[in-house]
Amino acid sequence: MQLAWLIPVFPLIAFLILLFFGRLLQEKSAYVGIAALALSFIYSVLALFERVGGETYTYVFEWMTFGETSLTMGYEVTALNAMMLIVVTVVSLLVHVFSREYMHEDHRIHVFYSYLGLFSFSMLGLVLAPNILQLFIFWELVGLCSFLLVGFWYFKPEAASAAKKAFLTTRIGDVGLLIGLVLLFNEVGSFAYADIYAAVENGMVEQPMVTAIALLVFLGAVGKSAQFPLHVWLPDAMEGPTPVSALIHAATMVAAGVYLVGVMYPVFLASETALTVVAYTGAITAFFAATMALVMTDIKRVLAYSTISQLGFMILALGTAGYVAGLFHLMTHAFFKALLFLGAGSVIVAVHHRQDISVMGGLWSKMKITSVTFLIGALAIAGIFPLAGFWSKEEILASALLNGNGFLFGLALVTAFMTAFYMFRLFFKTFTGDYRGAHDDEDEADGHGEDDHHGEPHENTGFMTMPLVVLAVLAVTAGFVNLPFIGYPLEGFLTAGLNLGDQPHGELWLAFLSLAVAAGGILLAWAMYYKGSISEDFFAAKAPAVHKLLLNKYYLDELYTAVFVKPTVAVGRFFWEMDKGIVDGMVNLIGRFTSTSGRTFGKTHNGQLQTYGVVSVLGGIVVIAIAFVLRGYFG
């Protein structure tokens, strides 16, 4: 564990190498990245083994003196981050391997790999941070990297604007996080987790303040983990290359938000209100995102909304005191979501860079490995026994039932049903039936079209299928680390030494109920999209208004543009006009001052000098007047 600091350093080195020598290495860049991540993975495994048999290891050094206090930096290996290290390095490594093939036609592949390295570095740094300030620093870097990667194909205007949207939307959450941090520092006098936990548990922080801090920190998580109402960036982030989506959705960007709540959990536990807000945010997000996933026709968008929905599940679990349930689902979800995204990537390559499921179909016989692994992923996310998703989802339902209320539980159950339905809608439309994309190869959906790629879809090479197989194995087995029959080993590991209360566990009937709901969803999808016994348009025809509402994502983008973006720019305009125009008119009213002396400098074309002078003098007088009135010098 003493060497754990090396884990993020390897990808950083890869980044630096590629930054300086990338142009020479070109396609070989991939191997630099893969090697770095492989080393990180090995060290993560070592760290995990040591941590399982040992204690938390912390190393800090003084980084910055601030007055009398000094801020530290360093790293620590706790149970939680030992688990996260594995998740991040596994997914990142497999994404690195997968991209070798996926991106090989791109002449900027070295840039791509350098960004991936930086991204992995940031996320690993975030996970290893022993204090929340350091977490915040890496948090920002993660955001920056996702900006770079989502906008990687910047020549697509959608990609460039999606990148900017992702970065700026999450920054709204960051405002909350930063203010929360500053308040926390003000109360506790330290950024270190250990000090924060101790202070909160000893009741050093007053009750309303704890709630405020928890909610502000949570706002950061809402932005990063794409929770309602800040989820709008994540579906657009699909404009990035597919392996990046896998990375963002499974292990890095969005996981950071859930991780933040996990690592600050004692603060949340101290505030009933905060927990309730967290739980409802999670449940509502899970539900709304799932409804949108029902109608999307872009393979990646369906997965994007499913990610938002699953993240909602995790947040719901955390909000109902299911600390282990939430983080357990974070881990299992990382594996099967990475699997589904990489599977989607494999499909997209096979059908010549198109993403619309209405032009897919019939891929089962053409791409055996992709199809089977995708099916495993879909079963896992739907929560079918004994795959990973079953175990973690069942725990989430248990905590929503036992510590939440009927509403939360009901919402979660309905969402679980929809999850199974939309995943299998996707699966049946993509892999079964007839291939519907044979004859319209000319309309390239992507700026990526190469002419020599026409023809039937076929399976991809080992660089792309190997990660799928590995992830499929993990999607089957990852749930076993917290089996009820062997006494919830993951739970014991994660909660040891922490004072988090009892973890909720469901009874046997709950497991059957969740299984039945998932099976019901799959069955309905099967009836509609495979068997055809229910028309595909059945629901759309019954409730066209709802269908339209869902297709337009509840018009949230439009709403935000109207409510937030436009007013902000308008305020800017307003101040600018003040600077330029209104003031001008005011001066005209005051007298002919401007018109007479204006001739002297009449040729100036940008801004009237006299106006500035008058405004400055008037401004000065106003400042003085206000100051005097406020301080009461006149009275």
Binding site: E62, W63, M64, T65, F66, G67, I137, F138, E140, L141, L144, F147, L148, G151, Y154, A159, A160, A163, K164, F167, L168, R171, I172, D174, L178, I179, V182, L183, F185, N186, T568, V569, V571, G572, R573, F575, W576, D579, F601, K603, T604, N606, G607, L609, T611, Y612, G613, V615, S616, V617, G619, G620, V622, V623, I624, A627, F628, L630, R631, Y633
Partner: protein, 483 residues
């Protein structure tokens, strides 16, 4: 007179710089007016560096000449910032001057040296007269510099505007000073400071008028709202390296005297004006950042961003006035001068390569045309916005924490929110550089040595201070800034 028995050696750096500036001036006359004179540029940089060394080695223990001229850590650090800043400005100007034949090179260099001299006197002064003389040396030189492209209408216009509004500012300052002198009968800030509590009790209104007029006048120089209006036009019209000078050295020197005057003169009535400064800081941050959102010209954008930055620097002054807040301000000043000069040197380069235009679209595809410059510019802008691992982040984080400790939570929150908004416009430029194709006729950029050097130095500083802030913070924390 007492003053003649004082230790004049305290002024050695100023005297030497003055002499060297005269030398540059003379050599310029002797070599004809129209030539390219890179050697004069090098001589000027050399003069500045020699002066910087003298600042370091002469009188490290500090001292003062009468009550008028102070040498303390505060003055010394500010002088180093000024000298290095002017040296970097000259370095980035050399190529620019060679490309613009209508600029008389020798005059340009010597005038910049005189501004450095004026700024040094400003930050060392403890007397209203000395202070005003320093200020006017800087101001009058700046007016000339802003109009240095005398056949260019924008430049001439910038100069005229700057003269008139700068003159107004000087009038504000003198008017405020005259009240102080009238009430105390002295121009010494020490004596004024000593008399202040009593004076304030007796002549509240007059003292406040004097204080606010001086604040307004200095406010012109640092471009705080509502005295900021000259900045965008002057920044836009002035030759780009001069804009860089105005945005950095000139602004920071003005901050130096604000701190000096308000610490020495008005500290005892801190409670009376802290709130006013806080309000102005808030308005400055809001107005600067919001207007910057609408700008399509890089130089104007930097002007409004500079206004917003002035707001950030005002926050510590408004929060608490002690050794530590000065540390925070000086750290931010160092960070600010690095990132701003770096950014402006790249703006100079890009605009010169795009036919002297400064629209946002001139940056399109810079990453393809010159990857190093694009990455460096991105880092400067991110630092200005306050992203971690840059000096700007550390500087801002310090200011946040200070504001929180000083119970100015609302001000800290305004700062956080407005700096989030600032990401939007900085990202507009970054998006152009990385996510837009270069214009069809744009060529690969050949980076001249001077600009390369400035960018490398400032980039190293920006990143190094972002990762290891203690290099400076430890040093600064040990200082007793004002003797």
């Amino acid at each position: 007179m007492l003053a003649f028995e004082a230790t004049w050696s305290l002024m050695t750096p100023e005297i030497v710089l003055g002499a060297l500036a005269m030398l540059v001036f003379t050599i310029d006359f002797m070599t004809g007016i129209h030539e390219k004179k890179p050697f004069i540029g090098r001589l000027s940089i050399f003069s500045l560096l020699v002066t910087a060394v003298l600042v370091l080695v002469m009188n490290p223990q500090g001292g003062q000449i009468g009550d008028t001229f102070l040498v303390d850590p505060f003055a010394m650090v500010f002088k180093l910032i000024i000298l290095v800043g002017v040296a970097l400005v000259i370095m980035m100007s050399m190529n620019y001057l060679d490309r613009n034949e209508d600029i008389y090179q020798g005059e340009y260099y010597s005038i910049l040296l005189f501004t450095a001299l004026g700024a040094m006197i400003m930050v060392s002064s403890a007397d209203l007269i000395t202070l005003f003389i320093g200020l006017e040396i800087v101001s009058i030189s700046s007016y000339a510099l802003a109009g240095f492209k005398k056949h260019n209408i924008d430049s001439t216009e910038a100069s005229i505007k700057y003269i008139v509004l700068g003159g107004t500012a000087s009038a504000f300052i003198l008017f405020g000073m005259s009240y102080l002198y009238g009430l105390t009968g002295t121009t010494s800030l020490y004596e004024i400071g000593a008399a202040m509590p009593e004076l304030f009790a007796d002549y509240t209104v007059m003292i406040m008028i004097s204080l606010l007029f001086m604040l307004g006048g200095f406010g012109f120089k640092v471009s705080m709202v509502p005295f900021h209006m000259w900045a965008p036009d002057v920044y836009y019209g002035a030759p780009t390296p001069v804009t860089a000078f105005l945005a950095t050295v000139s602004k920071l020197a003005a901050f130096g005297i604000i701190i000096r005057v308000f610490t020495l003169g008005f500290e005892s009535i801190y409670a009376e004006w802290a709130f006013i400064v806080a309000t102005i800081a808030a308005i400055t941050m809001i107005v600067g950042n919001f207007i910057a959102l609408t700008q399509q010209d890089v130089k104007r954008l930097m002007a409004y961003s500079g206004i917003a930055q002035a707001g950030y620097i005002l926050v510590p002054i408004a929060t608490v006035l002690n050794n530590f807040s000065i540390t925070v301000i000086i750290f931010y000043s160092v960070a600010y001068i690095m990132m701003t000069l770096g950014a402006f040197s790249i703006i100079t380069l890009v605009s010169e390569q795009s036919g002297r235009k400064t629209g946002m679209d001139t940056f399109a595809g810079l990453y393809q045309r010159s990857p190093y410059m694009a990455v460096a510019m991105a880092i400067f802008l991110l630092s200005l916005a306050g992203l971690p691992f840059t000096a700007g982040f550390i500087g801002k984080a310090n200011i946040f924490l200070l504001a929180i400790n000083g119970n100015m939570l609302w001000l800290a929150i305004i700062m956080i929110v407005t700096s989030i908004i600032s990401f939007y416009y900085y990202f507009g430029v970054i998006k152009q550089m990385f996510m837009a194709e270069p214009k069809p006729n744009a060529e690969e950029i050949k980076v001249p040595g001077g600009i390369q050097a400035v960018v490398t130095v400032t980039l190293a500083g920006t990143v190094l201070l972002g990762i290891l802030p203690n290099l400076l913070l430890d040093l600064f924390t040990g200082f007793n800034w004002m003797i």
